[in-house]
Amino acid sequence: MSHSENWEVVIGLEVHVQLATESKIFSASSTRTGEEANRHASLIDLGMPGTLPVVNKEAIRNAIRFGLAIDADIARRSVFERKNYFYPDLPKGYQTTQLAEPVVGAGAVEIQMENGDKKVVRIHHAHLEEDAGKSLHEGFHGQTGIDLNRAGTPLIEIVSEPDMSGAEDAVAFARKLHSIVTSLGICDGDMSQGNMRFDVNISVRRPGEPLGTRTETKNLNSFRFMEKAIALEVARQIDVLEDGGEIVQETRLYNGDTHTARSMRTKEDANDYRYFPCPDLLPVMVSEEEIQTLRDQLPELPDARKARYIERYNLSAYDAELLSGSIATARYFEAAAEHGGDAKLAANWVMGELAAKLNAEDKDIAESPVSAEHLGELILRLKDGTISSKIAKQVFEACWNGDGSPDQIIEAQGLKQMSDSGELEKIVDQVIADSPAQVDDYRNADDAKRKKKIGFFVGQVMKATQGKANPQQVNQLLQQKL
C-alpha cells in the first residue's frame, strides 16, 4: 500500500465475550458445548409459549467484574430490552439484550505497543445479552437444522470508542480484553470455540478531515484474522476513495480461508429492531455493597501483573506484557520461574523456544507437553552447568516428545556436560596434536585473527565430545595450550 501514508485509519471494536457461567442467562440449562444438538435446550431456550426468563445473577456479577476491571461506571440500575428480528436460531423472535441502560458504563483500557508506547482505548459501555443458537446447513438434505444449545448463553458485548488507528492497535486491544476476561475468570477465552468474537468498525480519512463512512466486518474469531481483515478492508476503502468512489455503510463478512471479504448487507436493508424494555424482566438493581464485595474479590489483573513482572523480574515492558497477557501464559511463566529459580531465563524460554513450538503445532500453552515444572528443571540444569544451552534445546525437544523429565533425558541420553577438566584436557591436546597446520596458522596470526581461528579448534573439541563440553572451558584450555 504505497498510498496509505496519506490516510488515517479509524477503528472501533465491538467484542462479544461468552461468560463462563454454569447455566444460561435466563434459564437453568447448562452452557456446556460440544454435545448432542439441543441437549441443553429447555422450554425457555426453545421459546415455548408461556415460558418466562429469570436472570442468572452470576452473569450480572461477571459483567460487573469486567466493569470494575476497566474502571468503568457500574450502573446501579440496568434494563434488559428486546431486540426484535426473525431468524430460525433466535427462538423467541427477539434477543434479550441491553441498550439504553447497560450494566457497565464508560471505562478505559490501556494497551502496550511493541515500540514501548502506551495507548488508551476508551470503552463506551458493555452490556449483557443472550447468544443465539446455531443454524446447521449440512446433513439435512436441503433443509436447515437448528441447534439451540448455545441459545441463551450469556454474553457481554464490549463497545469501544473509535480510538484505534490500525490493525496493531486493534489486535493489542483485543488481546488486552482477552487477557482481562481470562484473568477475571469470567470467560474461557477459547477463540476457536467462539468464546470471543470481534466486530470491527473501520473508516479512513485524510488527516484533518471529518470521519469517513464506516463499514463493519463481523464475527472475526482470531487475532490473526482480525489483523488480516483490517488490512484488507483498509486497503479496499483507500482504493475505492482514491478511484473517486464512495464508501457504502455496510456489514461485511471476512473469510479467513480465502482472505477475502464480501458485503453482507447495507444500511438500507438493515433491520428496524424495535427495541423496548423487556416486560418479563425487572430492572437489575445493584447495591453499593455488592459492588464493593466484587471489587474486593477481584483477582490480580493484567496491568498489575505486568507491573509486578517489570518490578520483580526486571523484564522489559513489552516482554512483561506478553507474559502477563494471558492468564495461562502468566501461570506457566511464574511456575517455571519459581521452579527454575531464574525469571529471566524462564521468560526467554517461554517467549522463545516454547512459543515457537506451540505456534508450530498450534497448541495452547495449557496443552504444552513440556510442563512448567519441566521447564524449571531444565533451567536449573542450565544454570548449574550440567548442560549447555545447545544441549538444553535438545533436552527440551526430547521432553516435548514425551521422553521424560529433563533430568531423566539428560541421564538416559548421557547429555551431561563434561566437567572433568582432566578428560577435557586430553581431548584438547589430541585435537592440537592432530592439526599441526592449523596450529601453525593460528600461532602466526595476530590477536584479531586468532579470535576467529580458534573457532576451528573449539568445533573439533565439541565434535569429539558430542557437544557435551562446556564451551567456555574449551576456549580457556585452547588459549592456554596454543
Binding site: 426453545l46 409459549p49 418466562l52 426468563p53 427462538p91 423472535g93 424495535r274 423496548f276 418479563d280 425487572l282
Partner: protein, 484 residues
C-alpha cells in the same frame, strides 16, 4: 348439584353428600348436553378429569381436604396444561400439546382441583366478544344471539350456564371482568404480580394477569387462595405473603369509603347502566359505606395508551410463532421467508394481525417516542391518579362495562367501537391494581356488572365488599332460564 356455588359443593364433598366423581360426571354430562349451544369449551378432558376426581375421592376418604379437593374447574385455553392441547383460541396452536403446566393451574391441582377442560377465548386473548376465536364464537347463555364478552368468554359463559362451578381466566384489559359482567358472574383480576404468569401464553406481559371467575365472591376468594403466591419462575410475580382471602370475607363495609369517579359516569353513558351501578353502591351505602365523589382525570387516556402498549408487547410476544419449532407451519414453504410469511398469515386471525401491525408500528424507529414512550407516560399518570385516590378512599366503584351483551357480529367491522367495551376496565390493568366485577342486576333483561377496584394487594378488601353485597342481593344466584 350445578345450582350450587363452589363453596357449597366443597361443603357437600366434605360432608360426603356426593363424591367428586359424581360431581365431575354431572358437569361433564352438562357440558355434553348444553355446550353445543354455547361453544364455551375448546377441549373437554373427560378421562383426565375422572382420574383426578377418583384421586380426590381417595384423598377425601383419607381425610386429606385441601382448598379445592374434588372441585371441578374449567381452565381458559391460554394456560399450558401438560399433555393437553393448549390452543389459545388460535389456529396457530391448534396442534400444540403443551409439554408443561402453568403455575396457576398447577397450584390449583395441588389443592385438589379437577380440570374439566379448556375454555374458549378470543384468539390470543385479543378481543372483547369472543368472536376472534379460531374455534368459533362463544354464545351468551342469557341470549345465544349475543356475545359473552371476552376474552375469557368461554369461562364466563360456562359458569353462567352452570357447565362448570369454577373457572380461571386472564385479564389484560378487562378480559375477566367484562365477560363476568356480561354473563352475570363474579370475576376477579388480582394485583399485577399476585398470580404467576408462568405457563400463561403471553398477550401483553406487563398487563396480563390470571384470576378466578365464580358464581360468587366467596368462590373467587376460594380459588384465588389456591392460585396466588410467589413463583421463582416469573420475575414479575411478587414475593408478598398471600392474605387469607376467605377470612377477609368476614369484614363488613361499615365506614368503608367508596370512591365514585366522575369518569366512570360520563355523559354519554347509557343511563340504565349508570343507574345499575349507582343502585349497587346505594346497597353498600345502606350497610354503612360512604360514597366519595372523586376524579381520575388521566383515565380518559387509558384506551389509547392501552392500544399502544398492549399491541407493542404483543407484536414481540407473538414473534415466537414462526412455524419453526411448534405450532402451525404452512405447507411446502419455498424458502425461509415464505415459511415465516405464510405460517403467520395462515396461522393468525385478523384481529391478531391487526394488533401485531399496530404494535410493530408503535415500536418502529421514529415512532417509538411518539407512541410507546408517551403511552408509558400516560400509564404513570394513571397510576398516580389512583394512588392519590386511594389516599382518600378504600375502594373505587363504577360500572364494569358501558353496555350489556351485544349481538354477535354487531361490532365485527368496527374494531375501535369494540375497543371501547373495555373503557372502564383498562385503566386498572395499566395501573396494575386488583379489581372485580360482580353481578348487579339486569338491564333490558341482560346481566350488568359493577366493578370494585382496590389498592395494591387489597384483593381481600374488594372480595369482602362484593361478598357483603352478595349477602344482601341475589343477582349472583340468577341463572339463565335455558340452562338452570
Amino acid at each position: 348439584m350445578h345450582d350450587k356455588t363452589l363453596t357449597e359443593l366443597k361443603a357437600g364433598l366434605q360432608a360426603g353428600d356426593f363424591s367428586s366423581r359424581e360431581l365431575t360426571e354431572h358437569f361433564l354430562a352438562r357440558i355434553k348436553q348444553h355446550d353445543g349451544k354455547l361453544n364455551s369449551f375448546i377441549s373437554v378432558t373427560e378421562a383426565q378429569a375422572l382420574q383426578q376426581a377418583d384421586a380426590a375421592d381417595q384423598a377425601i376418604a383419607a381425610g386429606d381436604h385441601r382448598l379445592l379437593t374434588g372441585l371441578p374447574i374449567a381452565h381458559k385455553d391460554i394456560f399450558c396444561t401438560e399433555g393437553v392441547r393448549t390452543s389459545c383460541g388460535s389456529r396457530m396452536l391448534d396442534n400444540f400439546i403443551a409439554p408443561y403446566t402453568a403455575t396457576a393451574v398447577e397450584k390449583m391441582a395441588q389443592q385438589g382441583a379437577v380440570m374439566l377442560g379448556k375454555t374458549n377465548m378470543d384468539e390470543f386473548a385479543m378481543g372483547s366478544s369472543n368472536e376472534t376465536s379460531f374455534y368459533g364464537p362463544v354464545k351468551n347463555p342469557w341470549d345465544t344471539e349475543r356475545v359473552p364478552g371476552g376474552s375469557s368468554g368461554g369461562a364466563a359463559a360456562s359458569l353462567a350456564a352452570r357447565l362448570a362451578p369454577g373457572a380461571t381466566g386472564t385479564d389484560t384489559g378487562g378480559s375477566i371482568r367484562q365477560p363476568a359482567a356480561l354473563n352475570g358472574v363474579t370475576g376477579l383480576k388480582p394485583t399485577y404480580g399476585r398470580v404467576s404468569r408462568w405457563g400463561m401464553i403471553a398477550f401483553a406481559s406487563s398487563l396480563d394477569q390470571a384470576g378466578p371467575l365464580g358464581l360468587s365472591a366467596a368462590d373467587c376468594a376460594l380459588m384465588l387462595q389456591a392460585m396466588a403466591g410467589h413463583d421463582a419462575k416469573d420475575s414479575t410475580c411478587l414475593n408478598e405473603p398471600v392474605d387469607d382471602y376467605l377470612g377477609a370475607l368476614a369484614q363488613n363495609v361499615d365506614g368503608l369509603k367508596i370512591g365514585v369517579p366522575e369518569e366512570f359516569f360520563p355523559d354519554n353513558l347509557d343511563g340504565a347502566i349508570a343507574d345499575n351501578a349507582r343502585e349497587a353502591m346505594r346497597e353498600l351505602e345502606k350497610q354503612g359505606a360512604k360514597l366519595v365523589k372523586l376524579s381520575l382525570p388521566s383515565i380518559k387516556l387509558s384506551v389509547p395508551a392501552y392500544y399502544v402498549i398492549a399491541p407493542a408487547e404483543a407484536s414481540s410476544n407473538l414473534s415466537r410463532f414462526d412455524g419453526v419449532r411448534f405450532g402451525y407451519r404452512c405447507e411446502d414453504p419455498k424458502d425461509l421467508e415464505d415459511l415465516y410469511k405464510r405460517s403467520r398469515s395462515e396461522g393468525f386471525g385478523a384481529e391478531v394481525k391487526r394488533r401485531i401491525l399496530v404494535g410493530t408500528y408503535a415500536l418502529s424507529a421514529g415512532y417509538y417516542d411518539a407512541y410507546y414512550k408517551r403511552a408509558q407516560k400516560v400509564r404513570r399518570l394513571i397510576r398516580n391518579d389512583f394512588a392519590r385516590a386511594f389516599k382518600e378512599v378504600d375502594v373505587i366503584m363504577g360500572p364494569t362495562s358501558p353496555e350489556t351483551a351485544f349481538k354477535l357480529g354487531a361490532k365485527a367491522d368496527d374494531p375501535v367501537n369494540m375497543y371501547m367495551a373495555d373503557v372502564f376496565t383498562i385503566a386498572v390493568n395499566l395501573a396494575g391494581l386488583p379489581a372485580l366485577s360482580m353481578p348487579s342486576g339486569f338491564v333490558n333483561g341482560l346481566p350488568a356488572g359493577t366493578q370494585v377496584i382496590g389498592n395494591y394487594f387489597q384483593e381481600g378488601r374488594i372480595l369482602s365488599v362484593a361478598h357483603r353485597y352478595q349477602m344482601a342481593t341475589d343477582w349472583h344466584q340468577q341463572a339463565p332460564g335455558d340452562f338452570a
